[in-house]
């Protein structure tokens, strides 16, 4: 049964220069297993391809049951010069939460 990341995790996006980082924090052990296996760099890049060039790096934090995605070339050249309305990319966490996973 397919499942949205929104049902499994919460998320926050941060900015540094032209790089966005988006955390994904699992609500439960079961959600953590699904996210760890299925929320791959490829799936994240596919979701962000309309707004970021990448590359995407994924870090795992098992103690927090969290993933941290670092998405480069994502903020229109950087907060201060970006032509985007959301120059900080604060809304990018909800692009992550909209990703559909195969689930269990």
């Amino acid at each position: 049964m397919s499942v949205k990341v929104h049902a499994l995790a919460h998320s926050r996006a941060g900015d540094k220069g032209n790089t966005s980082n988006v955390s994904v924090v699992a609500y439960s052990d079961e959600a953590w297993q699904i996210l760890r296996e299925q929320l791959t760099v490829e799936r994240v890049m596919a979701a962000y391809c309309h707004t970021a060039k990448g590359p995407v790096t994924r870090f795992e934090l098992p103690k927090l049951k969290a993933l941290n995605f670092v998405i480069e070339n994502a903020l229109g050249g950087g907060v201060t010069i970006s032509l985007a309305q959301d120059a900080h990319g604060k809304s990018l966490s909800y692009l992550m939460l909209g990703i559909e996973l195969p689930g269990r």
Binding site: R12, V25, T57, N68, V79, L83, K90
Partner: protein, 448 residues
Amino acid sequence: MSKSRIRVGCGAGFSDDRIDPAQELAVKGELDYLAFECLAERTIARENLARSKDPEKGYTPYLVERFQAVLPACLRSGVRIVTNMGAANPVAAARAVRREARALGLGDVPVAVVLGDDVSEQIRANPQLPLLESGEPVESLLPRMAAANAYLGADVIVAGLDTGASVVMTGRVSDPSLFLGCMMHGLGWRYDDYPRLAVGTIAGHLMECAAQLTGGCFADPGKKDVPDMARIGFPYADVTAQGELELGKVEGSGGRLDVMTCKEQILYEMHDPSSYITPDCILDVTDVSFEQAGRDRVRVLGPRARARTPTYKVVVGYHDGWIGEGEVGYAGPNALARAQLSEQIVRERLRMRGFSYPEIRVDYIGMSSLHGMGAGRPEPYEVRLRIAVRSPDRKAAEAVGFEVRTLHVNGPAGGGGGTNALREVLGVKSVLLPRELVKTQVVVEGAR
């Protein structure tokens, strides 16, 4: 005299933050220190422009309002105030604080001022330094440079507090260092005691965005609810000399502070969790865990730190031309097609007038302005066209807003609510500067 346990509060997480939570902390928080983080990356470059027009300006907006709100309670209870609100002109900021203290009848309040973060001379003298973003030498930015400031560390905060002044005013200091400096001063931690620097740095990292730890940027109605958001309280840290850390907020304030809010904030603006570089240490959060220690109270376990790097990070602000933009809205049947027709008209008008741009950004607000134009987006009932450009030429940037505005009578049917704007762009890039090239100094305004 060092204490065995102190409490450090966070009074602001950015320059335009709410003011009342700091007052709540000052009055009810039983604090030892109150730190305000008020500098974004480009703030100093912007404030340098203000200072060049008026030598008494160049500190952050709302400085006076923030000090009005907290000075009486802080002086009454002996709470020391630490802040980077000095921005491009910490000396003028210190004088403004002293003026305000006198106006409030609080007498002659000494303010310690940290100098030395302005490294524009050192950057000019070292044009070969590579930019972190591109590897190119900083030289090409020098003719357009508006400011260059090093992120100083917690040692300068300690030096400021050691003067005995009630207030420590700085320009650029790394955000976590503002808080770590209070802990080093209050608990007698040494600057090479990395296990404790790890504790102070993670406390600062978690608190530096204020409400983002206590329920701000968190609510998702029905999924993750936050109580009483109009009155979210700002966090404080209780730290012991041994390095035990618990986070809390004033009882009765709005918001929530729990394991979930801490997990979101620990990864905020973090890249590799094993190497978060500050001027004080390299923080490793890979083994950090959180425990709920009570209502709105969280214990933090497991941070580690390695030795600090031999360089300071420097933000170079530079003039980068102009951004011009225009917007107009459409609603009802065929709204998107009418907005798209407007885009074509504006592009053609700009070409006809001989303007070209390295990048033209087109947003359909309501559809594609935040996450880009993904496949299969449904057409919205209302859509707002936004066109934005960046140009070194002010006239070329201004033309975009003008041509969107002319759609008012020359464009497709039913276009309403047109707006346009023009702003000067201050870009920022970073370089690493060897520590030995940075000379810091503390002076006290109103020395006793």
